[in-house]
Assembly symmetry: D2
Homo-oligomer: 142 residues x 4
């Protein structure tokens, strides 16, 4: 599990005083970017130089409690599924002050050749980082 | 069905040239705001004066094709479920140039007293607007 | 003068209920994008295919009155200066309900070859659009 | 001088690969929020409980070099002017990799009673924090 800590900012809450819900997904993407920091050059080089990206194909989110301006969220990030060309990330948004689970997001991405805009096999270094955060590592049969 | 037309803006695409996926939810929220324009004072008065909001409790999104800078999306909005204190909106994101379905979002919201931050019965005027866009209107039994 | 009408959206106001001030510049950029709609393929083709952009070199903004959620702004856009490789746009943000001037923004941009990231002569079609909105057209001497 | 370090995020760059210029102001506001962390409850309590805010009345920005996805900016923040009801913050955006000054922003804010939306005398604790970052502290005459 990879923890990403994030303060809710002034301009991210809505007139009801609550974190605007699409921003949960922005935080999730930020957590994924940080999770892939061990790649050489990080996620940014993956996208801008190697031209491989991880576009979302499905995102399922459940919201249980609000986050407000001034709250800190710990986005507990893990990989719940790891395929050949796709992976699913799971993000639990825990409010730092009281450890309440405020939201859970499941985010499925496909390794994609951005020039051709077609799926491609997952690069080895991407796989290694993902494996390090896999929830239930596959046990190789003896 | 309520169509909301939206041009993808310069700053809304990511370095891969694609609409950043959380913005699909921002567009969905904009479509919901417009759908509730028939309320007196619109969605803005509902939130800021009557202090009733529609926070999301679940959002499920599937992405099929990209939207890029310069594309126009028609966000076809309907109400797929209408309960006593909640409703589910469905948004089909259709690319205007070729009518390709690029994404589908299901968005469940709960009518909420924002002062108490507790669910409340759906106001009659909110219900009437929602009913006007209900996909399969309930047929009252004879 | 080119008018761009824009509703202040739910997620664009801050916890004080006011349009978050960087969004004035976002609206300004949107107005500029619309102003250049007469280019073939619009501003989006200029940037993504012809690889010419208009990065800002200076932005000066004065704020006089707030915009709030639900307000509509008319962004009255004009070109106050037109050079060989740069131009200055002026945006007056007029609140639609009472015609109050809420903000004024001066935005100087340089026509830039995005591949080389160097200034370049202003393309003729860009100049023609800009000239059509010039505040005090230059009178050619006889 | 108060340094605020900020990584340029994936979704903050435009199709030209450059940090979208309004985000410089968002970073500036973030730096100001962090600068006021020493207030009890921070800037968030100032706004949401004490109902005192610091709306901008003028923002002047000069841009000299781009920031790109993956860059880190150090936003060097100071107070260049401190009045009775207003102050001006200065932000120098230094690119961490090569110490190039990429942008400079001057941001004048007015201490404002958000309920009445009228300027108010600067609270003592706000003044103390601002003074600690004043560029040329006033020397009391002997």
């Amino acid at each position: 599990m990879f923890p990403y800590e994030r303060v809710v900012r002034f301009h991210e809450v809505d007139p009801a005083g609550l974190l605007f819900f699409p921003h949960f997904l922005t935080y999730a993407h930020e957590a994924m970017e940080r999770l892939f920091d061990p790649l050489e050059g990080g996620y940014s080089r993956l996208v801008t130089e190697r031209r491989i990206g991880l576009p979302a194909v499905a995102v399922h989110s459940d919201f249980r409690a609000p986050l407000r301006y001034g709250d800190t969220a710990v986005v507990e990030t893990s990989v719940s599924r790891l395929g050949n060309r796709s992976l699913t990330l799971r993000y639990a948004f825990v409010r730092a002050s009281d450890r309440v689970l405020t939201a859970e997001v499941h985010h499925t991405v496909v390794t994609t050749d951005l020039a051709a805009m077609r799926s491609c096999p997952m690069p080895d270094d991407v796989r290694r980082v993902a494996e390090a955060h896999l929830e239930s590592p596959v046990i190789a049969p003896s």
